[in-house]
């Protein structure tokens, strides 16, 4: 029952945004409350709210202080957060192809060594995971996934890389990720996907949404090249699974 859950904390983020924090840690239940509040806010249409940004454990709500003040907005947010969540819509499920190892996953061997196993075993554990898009952030389309196998939890690299390629599939700490654009990263690079979670002239521009479910499957490097060309041409090559 939502009513018995502790209320979120309201953390001021300047004069035009407030962070509604449900947990300080990565926690699927808190993330579900974040996404539920995000949906409920969109449905409530609170005057003055300009944008909301779900993250693992909090919802950042941008607003216009010319239309609503911090205290009034805080009351509305707490009231809406205390309501039972709107009925859950069935999550979309994506199957994402990944070319593991080699030039596409330069850390695969090192991760296997660190965990005293083989690269194939690491791939098997990564592919076996049932993931959930907890948030999208940092750079366009960067999808942070919860659901990483506990045996794959490992600290980020001591020194982050200044460049990691577009489509990088990586793990860091307790998280897994789908990276869309080239970016710096301190995570361990297991492979690359030809899937673009963000592509400008495609409909939809953004493929993944917080709350979506994700599984991975391995492809060889030749298939990667083929799918990459199709994706570049605007084709959506991620497979959407109909339940």
């Amino acid at each position: 029952m939502a009513a018995t859950l502790p209320p979120p904390r309201l953390l001021p983020s300047g004069d035009s945004a407030v962070t509604v924090e449900f947990s300080r840690t990565i926690d699927d239940a808190a993330n579900e409350r974040v996404l539920a509040l995000d949906k409920a806010l969109a449905a409530a249409g609170v005057d003055g709210i300009t944008e909301s940004v779900p993250t693992y454990r909090s919802l950042l709500v941008h607003y216009d202080p010319g239309k609503i003040g911090f205290d009034a907005l805080g009351e509305r947010l707490l009231a809406i957060a205390s309501q039972p969540p709107p009925p859950a819509t069935k999550a979309r499920r994506w199957r994402i192809p990944v070319a593991y190892g080699g030039e596409h996953g330069i850390d695969l061997e090192e991760v296997a060594k660190a965990l005293n196993t083989t690269p194939d075993d690491i791939v098997a554990r990564h592919v076996a995971g049932d993931y959930r898009v907890a948030m999208i952030g940092f750079t366009p389309g960067w999808s942070y996934l919860s659901g990483l196998d506990k045996s794959l939890h490992m600290s980020r690299r001591q020194s982050p890389r200044l460049f990691t390629p577009a489509g990088t599939i990586s793990i860091g700490g307790v998280q897994a990720g789908i990276q869309c654009l080239a970016a710096p990263s301190g995570w361990h690079l297991l492979g690359r996907t030809p899937v673009r979670t963000y592509q400008l002239h495609r409909n939809p521009t953004f493929l993944t949404e917080p709350g979506d479910r994700v599984t991975f499957f391995a492809i060889d490097h030749k298939t990667f090249e083929e799918l990459d060309r199709a994706a570049e041409a605007g084709e959506i090559i991620a497979e959407q699974v109909v339940a």
Binding site: S16, T19, R24, D64, I136, G141, L200
Partner: protein, 345 residues
């Protein structure tokens, strides 16, 4: 149609507008002008909407040549010498380039960013309602990258309207105002006092993503890793080395370092225009004060047209500006060659 051709331009110069709103949930940052008031003032001078797309010019010089007709422009923001074919152009005024004439802008004397607005505004392909350049995401139009010599804009032919100046309020001096949070509870009272009580300087390795602050080391109460959460323009995060970074318009939409405080909306542009190496302080204000200032700031921008005057008195302004030009050019707060590198993700 006329054309305005970029004859020369330094780094950290790009097309910017009010920014790209509504897609931060997908990791798409807002971008937009570092000094919103200055962009709005320049646009108002040539009759544009306040946040129409203009050229954000970094601390170095730049020049623009009119082709195929006259072009009416205006400049505001970081002060610098400017002339059209040898005729001085004062800051906060409009001016018209005849066909073939060149507007030449010197180095910023203080601050970093000067805004060039063009009558009728820059045209391009809107993405999420904005032409603003976000180089990392490959976004921005007509050029999805910083400007280069030879770039050009198709623009309206000059209307021939009388030239104007805009009387802006005297710039606020004094500390950059902040509200504490969202993670001020990750710091003890002594470290909060150290942050608020110390002198800070902006590092030269700063850019549109973030301004690195040089000063004392701020220690965390529980370590520097928090679970990533959302950021705003002006978030002041404290990474592991204890040197705060003020997140600016090209920030990541989420970050995994505790944020001790947030610069108030009315002062983000002032921070953006603080030259590298200049000492400044922060000052804590209450949420009520910050929101009051935000409302006044929005009202100031809405009412900019009321501040337009005939350009008759410009000669006096030029003298005042020449007198003020004693410091030489400012050291840049912005180095286009550096990116903020974080351990995030």
């Amino acid at each position: 149609m006329s054309r305005l051709v970029v004859a020369s331009i330094g780094p950290a110069s790009s097309v910017q507008d009010g920014g790209r709103h509504g897609a931060q949930r997908y990791g798409l940052t807002v971008s937009g002008a570092m000094d919103r008031l200055a962009l709005a003032a320049a646009n108002t001078l040539v009759g544009n909407e306040p946040f129409a797309a203009g050229v954000e010019i970094g601390p170095f010089g730049a020049s623009f040549t009119a082709r195929d007709g006259a072009v009416r422009v205006a400049i505001a923001g970081a002060p610098r010498d400017a002339d059209i074919a040898g005729r001085p152009v004062a800051m906060d005024t409009s001016a018209t380039l005849k066909d073939g004439e060149t507007l030449t802008l010197g180095f910023a004397r203080s601050g970093a960013f000067t805004y060039l607005a063009i009558e009728g505004a820059i045209r391009g392909e809107l993405v999420f309602g904005s032409l603003a350049v976000n180089a990392r995401a490959g976004l921005g139009s007509p050029y999805p990258r910083p400007l280069q010599p030879g770039d050009e804009f198709s623009v309206d032919a000059a209307s021939g309207a009388p030239e104007l100046r805009i009387e802006l309020p005297k710039p606020v001096s004094g500390p950059i105002r902040v509200v504490l949070g969202p993670q001020d509870d990750e710091f003890d009272d002594a470290n909060k006092a150290l942050f608020l009580g110390s002198e800070w300087k902006i590092s030269a390795t700063s850019d549109r993503m973030g301004y690195r602050l040089e000063g004392p080391t701020i220690k965390h109460l529980h370590g520097h890793n928090i679970v990533s959460d959302g950021t705003v323009n002006g978030s002041i995060q404290v990474p592991g080395n204890g040197s705060p970074i003020a997140l600016m318009m090209d920030r990541g939409t989420s970050g995994g370092y505790p944020k001790i405080a947030t610069v108030i909306t009315a002062d983000v542009g002032r921070l953006a225009q603080t030259s590298a190496g200049t000492a400044f302080r922060f000052q804590q204000v209450t949420m009520a004060e910050a929101q009051d200032e935000a409302r006044k700031f929005a009202q100031l921008i809405r009412n900019l047209p009321d501040r337009l005057r005939s350009a008759d008195a410009v000669a006096l302004n030029i003298e005042a500006l020449s007198d003020a030009n004693v410091a030489g050019h400012a050291v840049s707060a912005v180095d286009a060659g550096t990116w903020q590198v974080t351990a995030e993700p």
